[in-house]
């Protein structure tokens, strides 16, 4: 184990994380990423795959597991060997055990093995099922063979990752980006996958899932209304905790979401509907962000108010520092959330008033 691996273990131990499931790979360093964040640019990642490069999925013990969340499969080359058979087998095995599964996609490097994978085809539950039946990679869970499966949730905070895995070019201008987002959402729905939750800046996260909406016709390509980020969550782990909160909610556990998940997930945890354990793949509900959702978490729902429930139309909002980065973006988002044509901006005493 590398020195970095030792530090990671020590830090996890200090946080009382159970390390039993961690596998040490001989001769490989611990994976790490260096994230460069410069002003006015998206983040840049320098990633060292390390031991993750040898991950095949067979290292995972699924006994007693409720949720399987697989992060960044495009960065796990062995999982994509043999036309992504290890990935598909892992997902299939988990589904057969009624484990909630989710994928967090990453942008595909066109020079990597990940670019050879037909993600559209391989993430289809029925395709995964066929391929699994012809594989001896894993033995099926006989006891769960006839139970209905759940589809895999595509949890991606990164819309470009969806574009790249789904073989769609990344757009540049904002309007085109919106169109591409809609296309990606519609595509996910057409593939009969679980909810997609791409990030949408200050608007929070968007939800899209399910066959039900798609079956209503082309208009269903419109994404669900964005959900606001949790108002009381703190700093950098917001989105990771939000992922956890949403997964807990999707899992439909009779247990309430943990406080951590609730805090981090905030509105996101409140957003998705409870996912019945016996639901079949064609009974997937559509995750929306409306007033019905807080009822699903009952007394455990976080207290929140956000753009999705506050109607800004014709109501004046004062934004100070509106010429700056955060203030300017806040103004743009408020305008987008309200009646764009009716806005009136007044400057008085150095303060900018936005009427949206």
């Amino acid at each position: 184990m590398t020195r970095f691996g030792e530090i990671a273990r020590r830090l996890l131990t200090e946080q009382e994380v159970d390390l039993e499931g961690i596998v040490t790979t001989a001769g490989a360093a611990t994976s790490y990423s260096i994230v460069l964040q410069s002003p006015d640019r998206d983040r840049t990642f320098w990633h060292h795959a390390g031991a993750n490069a040898a991950f095949t999925g067979r290292e995972v013990n699924l006994d007693g597991v409720d949720i399987l969340h697989l992060g960044y499969p495009p960065l796990l080359p062995e999982l994509l060997a043999d036309d992504a058979a290890p990935l598909l087998n892992l997902l299939k095995e988990a589904r057969s055990r009624q484990i909630t599964t989710s994928l967090d996609l990453a942008v595909v490097d066109p020079r990597s093995r990940a670019a050879e994978v037909d993600w559209r085809r391989d993430l289809r539950p029925d395709h995964a099922l066929r391929r699994y039946r012809h594989s001896e990679h894993r033995r099926p869970n006989v006891g769960a063979r006839h139970r209905p499966e759940r589809p895999t949730t595509i949890w991606s905070r990164n819309v470009p990752a969806v574009w790249s895995t789904m073989d769609a070019p990344s757009p540049s201008c904002r309007r085109v980006r919106e169109e591409r987002t809609r296309s990606a959402l519609a595509l996910i729905a057409s593939l009969r996958l679980g909810p997609l939750s791409p990030q949408s800046g200050l608007r929070g996260a968007r939800q899209r899932s399910g066959y039900r909406r798609l079956s209503r016709g082309a208009s269903s390509a419109r994404p669900e209304r964005a959900m606001p980020p949790a108002p009381d969550s703190s700093t950098a782990l917001h989105k990771e905790l939000a992922s956890g909160g949403q997964l807990v909610s999707l899992h439909g556990s009779p247990r309430p979401p943990s406080r951590e998940a609730t805090l981090g997930g905030g509105a996101l945890a409140a957003g998705p509907p409870s996912w019945p354990r016996q639901a079949s793949t064609d009974q997937v509900d559509v995750a929306t962000c409306d007033q019905k959702l807080p009822k699903r978490l009952g007394s455990h729902r976080p207290e929140w108010r956000g753009g999705a429930v506050i109607d800004f139309n014709h109501r004046p909002v004062l934004v100070t520092g509106a010429t700056g980065g955060i203030g300017g973006e806040t103004v743009r988002q408020l305008i987008a959330a309200g009646a764009d044509a009716d806005r009136e901006r007044t400057v008085r005493g150095g303060l900018e008033l936005l009427r949206s």
Partner: protein, 122 residues
Amino acid sequence: MTSEESVRDALEGLDLYGVVNCAGFGGEIATPMDTDIGVFDKVIAINTRGALLVTKYAARSMIRLGWGGSIVNVSSQASLVALPGHISYGASKAALDSITRVSALNWASTTSASTRSIPPSS
């Protein structure tokens, strides 16, 4: 933002449903020994005092109208953890967090308006 009169004049008579206090000043990166106290005063005046002034006069409008609504103060992780050289900025945002909490407590039982602080995250 630093003159009570100008803020009061700007907000007087306005019907407000919400406020987002984004206005801020980064100041300088300096050690406690080297910090320019003039810069410290300016950072506090804009980030903390200015936000309080806006809150003071905007809240009157919001309470008068009875629509509810929110006052959102854009804070920083610098209010929660020690960042190197952020002696003035961190202090200003920590004080802003305190203003937010006290404001929220004050209005929680008497109106439907709320106040919250958001530290921008990655």
